[in-house]
Subunit: 210 residues, 2 copies
DNA sequence: TTTTTTCTGTTGCATAAGTCACATATTATT
DNA sequence: AATAATATGTGACTTATGCAACAGAAAAAA
C-alpha cells in the first residue's frame, strides 16, 4: 500500500503521549492478533508484512488478506461469521500500532500531534483499505487458476512498474492466497511457462507477454 | 446493511442546499453508473437494490458486489485493474445520491444540516462497507460450490433471524454472485435437498440443520 | 389475451482442478 | 556441520465443476 504519508517515521518523531496507542514488535510467524468480536481493535502495520489467515475444520488454510506497510486491520473491520479461527500472522518481523477504534475516533484530550495527524490521514488509509479489498475480490472472482495467476502477476507487475519481480509469497502461500490447491497451481504455472507467457527463476517471475 | 441512521428519510427532511449532492432515481435494470477512473464519484444508495457487475471478454458475467439500503459505492473505492466493463445496475427501482468524494470531505460552506450529519455518519457507513467486503471475501474463499451455498444461506439466515427466507437473487444471479456455473450450482442445490439440509419452495429457502 | 423473453431444472460429456504420494531442494534449528 | 523441517516440483488418479443443449415454467412485453 503506497501512501504519501509514512506513519512509522511520523510516529517516531512525535510519539503518542496520550497512551491510547500501543506499539509492539513481532518476529516472523508470531501471531499478532486473533479476531474475536467485541474488542473493536484497529491495528496499523508500521513495518513488515503480515497475513490474515483462516484455518477451517478440514485443515485447509486460507490467506484471507495480505498486509504491508500502512495497512489497517483488526476486528473493527470484521463481522466474524463462521466459527473458523482467524489469525493475523507476521510474515516477516513487524511493527504494529494497536488502537481501540472508539478511542481513536474521539478527539484527543492531550491534543498530541501524532494523534491528530493520524486522524487527519485516517480517511486516506481507509480508502486504501477499501480499494485493496476490492482488488482482492477481483482476484478471487477470476474463473480459473490460470486467470488468477495471470491477474496476480499483473497486479504485482504494475505495482512494481516492471515485468520482472520477486514474489512476496512462497508458492505454498500463494496457493492459499489464490484459494487453489498448491499442486494444481504448480501444474498451471508449468503450463504458463510452456506456453511462453511466464518465466520463473527461483523466486523471480518474468512476464513475457505484451 | 443495517444502520441506525436512515439517510433517506433524513435527506427528505433536511434536503441538501449546498448543491454538492445530486439525487437521482432509477428503474429496474437501468445502469446507475460505470466505473471509470478519475471522477472520484461516491454514491449512496438511499433505497432499492443494485449490483456491481463485471462483463469479461468471454461473455462471463460476475456480480462483484450487491448493494442495498445505505450502501456506499462508486469508483473512489475502486482501483480499476482490468479492462473489463464494470457497471452498477439497478436490481429494483433505486434512489441514489451522487457525490464527488473530495467535495464531500471538505466542510460545507453553507453549513447545511444534511451535509454535516452525513459527514458525521460517514465513518459508520464506511465501516459497514468494509465489513461487507470482508464478508464477501469470506464467501468467495469457500472451497466448494456446496460450501459457498451453505455459507450464503447462513448469512441471509442470520441477517433475517430466521431459518426461512426469500432469496434476494434469482438463481441465475446467485450463480454469478457465488462465481460458479449456474447448472453446476443447480446440481449442488439438488444434492443439498437430497441430503436433507435445505428445502426450497419457489423462491423460499428453508434451512433444516442445527 | 397472446407472444416473447427470461428463468428454472435437468442431463451427458469434457476437462480443470483437487487428492495423495514421493523425491529433491531449500531453509531453519541444533 | 549435521539434522530437522519446510518448500518445490512432478506424476497417477479421482472428482467437482464447467459447458452445451434442451424442455417446461414463469415473468415481461405486446
Amino acid at each position: 500500500m503506497d501512501t504519501s504519508f509514512d506513519i512509522e517515521s511520523f510516529f517516531n518523531k512525535f510519539s503518542c503521549d496520550c497512551k491510547k496507542a500501543q506499539r509492539k514488535t513481532f518476529s516472523k510467524n508470531q501471531v499478532i492478533t486473533t479476531y474475536i468480536q467485541k474488542r473493536n481493535q484497529l491495528c496499523i502495520l508500521l513495518s513488515g508484512h503480515a497475513d490474515l489467515v483462516r484455518y477451517d475444520l478440514n485443515g485447509n488454510r486460507t490467506i484471507v488478506e495480505h498486509f504491508s506497510k500502512n495497512a489497517l486491520f483488526g476486528e473493527v473491520f470484521y463481522q466474524v461469521t463462521t466459527n473458523n479461527e482467524l489469525l493475523v500472522e507476521a510474515r516477516s518481523s513487524c511493527t504494529v500500532l494497536f488502537y481501540i477504534y472508539d478511542q481513536l475516533k474521539e478527539p484527543c484530550t492531550k491534543n498530541c500531534e501524532f494523534h491528530s495527524t493520524l486522524s487527519e490521514h485516517l480517511p486516506e488509509l481507509i480508502l486504501n483499505k477499501i480499494t485493496d479489498l476490492n482488488t482482492r475480490i477481483e482476484l478471487l472472482t477470476q474463473r480459473s487458476t490460470r486467470d488468477k495467476l495471470l491477474m496476480y502477476f499483473s497486479l504485482i507487475s504494475t505495482r512494481k512498474l516492471s515485468k520482472t519481480f520477486e514474489l512476496p509469497f512462497s508458492l505454498t502461500d500463494l496457493a492459499d492466497y489464490l484459494n487453489v490447491d498448491r499442486s494444481a497451481m504448480m501444474r498451471e504455472l508449468k503450463l504458463l511457462k510452456e506456453d511462453g507467457l511466464v518465466e520463473k527463476i527461483g523466486n523471480r517471475i518474468i512476464l513475457l507477454y505484451e
